[in-house]
Amino acid sequence: MLKSRSELSALREEYSKAYAAQSRRLIVCAGTGCVAGGSMKIYDRLKELLRERGLSVAVELEVDPHGDIIDLKKSGCHGFCEIGPLLRIDPEGWLYTKVQLSDCEEIVEKTVLGGEHIDRLAYKCGCNTYKKHQDIPFYKNQTHIVLDQCGTINADSIREYIAVGGYTALEKALFDMSPESITDEIKKSNLRGRGGGGFPAGRKWEQVRRQNVSQKYVVCNGDEGDPGAFMDGSIMGGDPHRMIEGMIIAGIATGASEGYIYVRAEYPLAVERLRTAITQAEELGILGNNILGTDFSFNLHISRGAGAFVCGEGSALTASIEGKRGFPRVKPPRTTEHGLFDKPTVLNNVETFANVPLIILNGADWYLGIGSETSPGTKAFALTGNIMNTGLIEVPMGTTLREIIFGIGGGMRDGAKFKAVQIGGPSGACLTSEYLDLPLDFDTLKKVGAMIGSGGLVVMDDKTCMVEVARFFMNFTQNESCGKCVPCREGTKRMLEILERIVAGEGRDGDIELLEELADTIVNTALCGLGKSAPNPIISTIKNFREEYEAHIYEKRCPAGACQKLKKIYIEPELCKGCSKCARQCPVDAISGKIKEPFTIDLSKCIRCGSCIDACPFKAIKEA
């Protein structure tokens, strides 16, 4: 239990020395993607192999190491999920990609014992081989500030976090600054809410700080519900202490002594790492009563979500922590006045809190030097879809879509043509190629009817049907509508019905106008932010791809060839030999005919699954 600032400083010095003395580090990526690829088995196998060879292995930072120790670590997400499982070898900074269990022996023999690079495991692109992590174009074009420790330090170790300077900002805030000066610094930095809205965090803090109430709360929104986004999950699981440090500082600034982290149920890994991190911080006296011997106390709790997208909305989230249904309520009053348990509450997102220690440590002026004028700092995005390099990225605000998609993302997959990029999840919009040079920040996106949202970027190629994408999002919001207000509950249902009939080839004249009218009503009358933004994907696809809607409705044709029900599958009689293979394969008995004579498909029964096309040895079955 640390009782003073000097005790923490002394501990940091000790840990830093030990960290600097680590001569050989093997960093296994333990992000969700790599774990799915088997990285934990690789971790165990490496440990086993190293021990078999009589080498000493350390899985936690050891203050007093004896002899040559190999440090084997589980880190947070390295970002480049596409080529995982990833293994980083330090001090050389080599990155091994797509590591298999069978590669472990060679890695130990050649790299650990022989110091030799294994070319086969390096990242290759075109005719270039990239040995080092930092040379790979995917990483080279990024600016890692919030994520800089994700993938380098052990995600389960408070010791490593402290060794690389962790909790220095907490020290500064606790001993050198007043609540006013902390709030002023955050206000000056113009840190804007990374959850999507972009509301200045400093203003929320100020509002909470000014109220003279004994009980206040700090709540972290980790309910990253947008499909196609996983940045917050990666931060919580990859560098949990940084976010916790940000929350404690918010507590000091606003006079709150209790904090809650609301994590969505689909992130078991993040919950586990956060639990470990909180226990470690409590054991050191960094969390709990009388932090570092001062009279400031801050207790942190984890609340696990139970699968409701609406709980990402502030008032629904606090209701959920209170053990109620996650219904949003009418605002004002704001969460800053009547938040959790009706008390003043600072509610920020994971990435916002993770920025706080950096701003306190380096100052607001440093932060203002990064990013664009009205949106300083960086933003983490989840880059996914039909693109070469997918993964977790971080770029300064104001970076263009072109730099992200074609620079970091490496362009389209399989030589396909870029069609659109969906930004901001179900509250966002689909942007076409004409917006590729738009600098991404809160304000420019708002101007074109989009929003950063939580930061999902899903790239779509020309085989993606935009009407179907609109249906997909409406299906999502309809499913997730909490049902409290009529415009969202009924309006999204009607919009979904219309979209469903359009993609099924049953669209009617006037459907587009009806969708527009409904969208307008929902935007203007829904109760919460999620309802108000629910029609965004439809508004933007109608605006940018109206001709696709028209083709579905008037010509009963899907220009992208993606809508199953608009596909016509037929057998070319000249090519069909009457072997009956297709009929045996058909799950709904839609194909019939006599052996050795051309077969036919009954389109009223056909579900367009395409099994017959794969089954036909003569390529006689065609799609139109």
């Binding site: 969700t32 993607g33 774990v35 799915a36 690829g37 480049f80 999920c81 596409e82 995982g84 990253e224 519900g225 947008d226 499909p227 196609g228 986004a229 996983f230 999950g233 990666s234 149920a265 689909e266 992130y267 078991p268 609340s303 696990r304 979500g305 139970a306 699968g307 409701a308 997208f309 959920s320 922590i321 209170e322 053990g323 109620k324 249904r325 996650g326 989840a382 996914t384 879809g385 039909n386 997918t390 993964g391 977790l392 969906q422 999840g425 999902g456 899903v458 779509m460 993606t464 994408v469 997909f472 999002f473 999502f476 997730e480 909490c482 799950p587 699954c609």
Partner: protein, 161 residues
């Protein structure tokens, strides 16, 4: 019905959360983790212990997607239909699982209670889309063929168990 139900698990969970009304979601989560669904019997029991109306507990249990009032299979297969998985063709994978197991949009669990097939909005492994999750294990870069192979493997596991 009441007499045959063993409430010792529920009691243990309740005492862990100090019978606090505020913790109802966490309590239901733990009960579900144990039984893989929320047995009907626990509702009146919880209402008594937590001094809450049964209706209120039921409203929470039915509001959140993760809670199930119906028994689920030994293997719960969650097919991610988040945006990233969707544009990389997750629906044919869902169709294949349903076809292999004789399930549909209305019937999620096989009669022998071995398999449940459902969709989720995002598993957070978008870089490896399309992904699915069987119990707690994530399978990446799925295809309908891989889905069939997986079912075969899981059925073998069941047969050998």
């Amino acid at each position: 019905m009441h007499d045959n139900f063993d409430f010792s698990v529920t009691d243990k969970i309740l005492s862990e959360y100090k019978c606090s009304q505020q913790s109802i979601i966490a309590i239901l989560q733990e009960i579900q983790e144990h039984y893989h669904y929320l047995p009907r019997e626990v509702f009146p029991y919880l209402a008594g212990k937590l001094d809450m109306s049964e209706a209120k507990i039921y409203s929470v249990a039915t509001f959140y997607e993760n809670f199930s009032l119906e028994q689920k299979g030994k293997y719960v297969i969650k097919i991610c239909d988040g945006t990233a998985c969707h544009v990389r063709h997750s629906l044919p994978i869902l169709e294949r699982f349903r076809q292999e197991l004789g399930l549909s949009a209305d019937k999620h669990t096989t009669d022998d209670l071995n398999f449940t097939v459902e969709t989720v909005s995002c598993l957070g492994a978008c870089g490896l889309a399309p992904v699915i999750m069987v119990n707690d294990e994530v399978y990446s870069a799925m295809t309908p063929e891989k889905a069939s192979e997986l079912i075969k493997k899981l059925k073998e596991e069941l047969a050998n168990a």
